[in-house]
């Protein structure tokens, strides 16, 4: 009973939000004189032939992979009550530099891919590190500084693209960096479809999907099962209590932003390694901002973020078919925006319901603890932190604590 109730309360918010968002969007579509049901039908119409249907699934998954990474990057910072709005700039700058490095340095295939990944993560982390540094040393709000750094990153990227890193012919309509050699293209996962006995789609399913899953598992373990994660969540829920228990607040800000930025650096790589093979003026943009939405939708838990990313991928795929049905494609953006807004409102309502229940003296443990900040601390099934208890906040053991226990656990989970 209590378990059922807990699950019910955890699901209440997202379901409520999606229903409300769909109702509003239906209203909007109705207002412009189109039939909302047609829109729903178009969205779920994946095509007639089996190949078209698997193709639609691949398109959704390929869109969801970068969105998932973006959501993760944002959520890591969110968990600590930090708003990394600079994900957009972090991944754009990281992608162009990684693309250029990958094309310029001569290495055998797999090592070249590794280099691209490492460069991207390092650039993302450095760029986010500026935000952290300005916050802890100069007291600049990370919201403002990360937004400003977005513009600086985009300007720098466009300068690099048209200047020193230009690889395309002069006069070409789309300016790009030099192409990655074919050995550095990450192979796709279309073998899965033949194993499952499904038709082969036209496009390749990104091989980076596996990397994204690994990163998701890593983040999940890092946050829930390590000392660092405990410190991080403690700092997010009550900075003063965290400081009182000996957590180094400044160090936590820097470490958290570095991790968030490193993950943000990966966002562009699925497209870079799996499809585009260069960074150009037409490279996918806006993923950083959507990542904020996805993180809010997934309530900062990796599983929730994955679901949110899939939902957004599904909605994005519908944009073009909707246009064929004479419904403006921007309906998709409106649906996404309203979903986010209703999710945060619904989270708040669910939290208040939980609290009221707890106050009535029910034995139900509240699934979400109020941190006043990021809309529901733990995701569904979070439970109490399984860490080594209250006296754990002191001193120097942080790096070792994040090490062994976390890593082995990650592998164990990935195999399971």
């Amino acid at each position: 009973m209590t378990v059922l109730r807990r699950i019910g309360l955890a699901l209440l918010a997202p379901v409520l939000a999606i229903v409300v968002a769909l109702a509003i969007s239906g209203l909007v579509i109705g207002l412009i004189g189109e039939n909302p049901l047609t829109a729903v039908q178009v969205m779920f119409d994946f095509g007639d032939t089996p190949a078209q249907q698997t193709q639609a699934i691949v398109v959704i998954l390929n869109r969801a992979v970068p969105l998932f990474l973006a959501g993760l990057a944002v959520s890591v910072a969110f968990r600590m009550g930090l708003f990394n709005i600079g994900v957009e700039g972090q991944y754009r700058l990281a992608t162009i530099l990684a693309a250029a490095a990958g094309a310029a340095v001569a290495l055998p295939g797999p090592l070249r891919i590794l280099l691209v990944i490492v460069v991207a993560m390092a650039v993302g982390a450095l760029w986010a590190g500026i935000v952290a540094l300005l916050k802890v040393t100069r007291g600049v709000s990370e919201v403002i500084s990360s937004i400003m750094l977005n513009f600086i990153a985009l300007g720098t990227a466009s300068f690099l693209l048209t200047g020193p890193l230009r690889g395309s012919e002069p006069g070409a309509s789309i300016v790009t960096t030099a192409d990655l050699p074919e050995s550095a293209w990450l192979p796709g996962l279309n073998g899965v479809f033949s194993v499952l006995g499904l038709a082969q789609p036209r496009a390749e399913l990104y091989g980076f999907l596996l990397v994204a899953v690994l990163v998701g598992v890593f983040v999940s373990v890092l946050i829930k099962r390590t000392r660092f994660g405990f410190d991080l969540r403690a700092s997010g829920m009550s900075p003063s209590a965290a400081t009182a228990s000996g957590i180094d607040a400044r160090g936590m800000v820097i470490k958290t932003m570095l991790i968030s930025g490193a993950i943000a650096g990966l966002i562009g790589l699925p497209d870079l390694l799996g499809d585009q093979h260069n960074y150009g003026t037409e490279f996918t943009s806006g993923l950083g901002f959507l990542g904020i939405a996805v993180a809010l939708l997934g309530r900062n838990s990796p599983l929730g973020i994955a679901l949110g990313a899939l939902l957004f991928g599904f909605l994005d795929r519908a944009a073009i078919p909707l246009q064929f049905a004479d419904i403006p494609a921007s309906v998709v953006t409106i649906i996404q925006g309203t979903i986010v807004l209703s999710v945060v409102v619904a989270n708040q309502i669910a939290r208040r319901l939980t609290r009221r229940q707890a106050e009535r003296g029910n034995a139900v443990a509240p699934p979400t603890t109020g941190d006043g900040g990021t809309g529901g601390g733990q995701g569904p099934g979070g439970g109490p932190p399984p860490d080594d208890g209250p006296g754990s906040g002191t001193g120097p053991g942080i790096s070792t604590a994040t090490g062994d226990a976390g890593r082995t656990d990650a592998r164990g989970r990935a195999e399971a």
Partner: protein, 424 residues
């Protein structure tokens, strides 16, 4: 929002006291005169006339006005305790409203349309943050995302196949332009200031450029906006309404216990905030005489930064808006003049280094000195910055200024905290 590690106030050195001590008015005067001399010197040394030309200053005024409006919007909302990251979204809504109403009913329509659309965005923010208690930054970010979708949707709806013109990303041009005037004798007719500016004398010509820039061909509405700043001060600091509104931002529980309608005031403040941000968008549309998607270019965020830089006060935010408007104007006017800014930065940072050294803060002094040297080297080696780099001059300025000034700032005490009656 910021966990500023407040510096303990150490004793001021004699030099610091001379420059920063005394009455605030004297301080501001010192600062302004110092800046003018500095700019003048840099202009003479670098030979970049664009640095203090009247056209730069008039462009700066033009660009500072939207920022000032957004910052004023932020002032109302944050003084009432609601952090408003959604200003950018409300500004976007304002630009669309201005474009839509403006092509049908001229500039008066644009003003009203922009304000109404912005206020609608503010209302959404108020409902989310005040009624539902959503985290303020989260709600603001959601509004920014939503606003982008809404305007694109509305454009697709209204402007495709519209006989008046326009398209998915832009509106038809405005039906009429707002009136403007020039100060007779000084800036028009004989144009004495223009003559003086043309002489390129040290200090005098720069002053003439400044004065001519802000008096020649100035929009009537621009003047009204400038007047709004003292008006906002009077409303917020000299009326009962203002006192109550600010009490919501400092200590809502206490205000509530004294019978102040906290929720209603917060609603009012955030809706006013949205309307002002929307008006900021209207001025961008006036500059271009057309609505274009992406016209705001993050100016909502810069306006917010101006507010923070201005320590949540009208005079300060005006200074912030002027600074960012100026760097934006310079960036648009001349790519070479931006390089001259590096020299200015070098001089300023060298000053900071000396100042920190007199306060015996050696690390800060060395750091400032190193950056000053880097800026100087940059000035000496770079001829012209490429377009991508120049485009973010205002944003970089914002960041630099904030990182130099953030520690002395104090935001309203309950800013950003969700207030629920009876839970505190």
């Amino acid at each position: 929002m910021s966990t500023a590690t407040a510096t303990t106030a150490t004793g001021r050195g004699p030099l610091t006291d001379r420059l920063l001590g005394g009455h605030p008015q004297r301080r501001v005067l010192f600062l302004l005169v110092g800046l003018l001399v500095l700019f003048s010197a840099v202009r003479v040394i670098s030979g970049e006339e664009a640095l203090t030309s009247s056209s730069t200053f008039s462009a700066a005024l033009l660009l500072a006005v939207p920022l000032a409006l957004v910052a004023l919007g932020g002032l109302f909302s944050e003084r009432a305790g609601v952090v408003n990251i959604g200003l950018e979204g409300m500004m976007i809504l304002g630009t669309w409203g201005a474009g839509w109403a403006g092509y049908q009913w001229g500039w008066v329509g644009a003003l009203i349309g922009g304000a109404v659309f912005g206020a609608a965005g503010g209302l959404v923010h108020a409902v989310a943050t005040v009624t539902f208690g959503v985290d303020h930054v989260v709600s603001g970010v959601a509004i920014n995302i939503l606003a982008g979708g809404v305007v694109r949707f509305l454009s697709e709806l209204v402007y495709t196949d519209n006989p008046a013109g326009g398209g998915v990303t832009q509106s038809p041009p405005l039906a009429s332009r707002p009136p403007s005037f020039s100060l007779p004798v000084l800036s028009s007719g004989p144009d004495l200031l223009g003559d003086l500016e043309g002489k390129h004398w040290f200090l005098l010509s720069d002053l003439a450029g400044l004065l001519r820039g802000v008096t020649n061909g100035v929009g009537v509405l621009t003047v009204l906006v400038v007047l709004l700043i003292p008006a906002a001060y009077l409303v917020l600091w000299r009326t009962a309404f203002g006192l109550r509104l600010r009490s919501c931002g400092e200590n809502p529980a206490a205000a509530d216990s004294l019978g102040v309608p906290v929720y209603r005031l917060k609603y009012t403040a955030v809706v006013i905030s949205g309307a002002l941000a929307g008006l900021g968008g209207v001025f961008l549309v006036f500059i271009a005489t057309i609505y274009r998607e992406g016209q705001t270019g993050g100016r909502g965020f810069i306006g917010l930064a101006a507010l923070i830089f201005g320590n949540w006060r009208p005079g300060g935010l005006a200074a912030g808006a002027a600074l960012f408007g100026f760097s934006d104007a310079l960036q648009l006017r001349s790519r070479t003049a931006v390089v001259a800014l590096l020299l200015l930065v070098a001089v300023l940072l060298a000053g900071v280094a000396v100042w920190q050294a007199t306060r015996r803060k050696l690390t800060q002094a060395v750091l400032a000195g190193a950056f000053a040297a880097a800026a100087l080297v940059g000035y000496l080696t770079i001829d012209e910055l490429p377009e991508g780099i120049v485009s973010f001059t205002p944003h970089l300025t914002t960041l630099l200024v904030l990182s130099l000034a953030s520690q002395r700032l104090r935001m309203p005490k309950a800013d950003g905290l969700v207030y629920r009656r009876g839970e505190h």
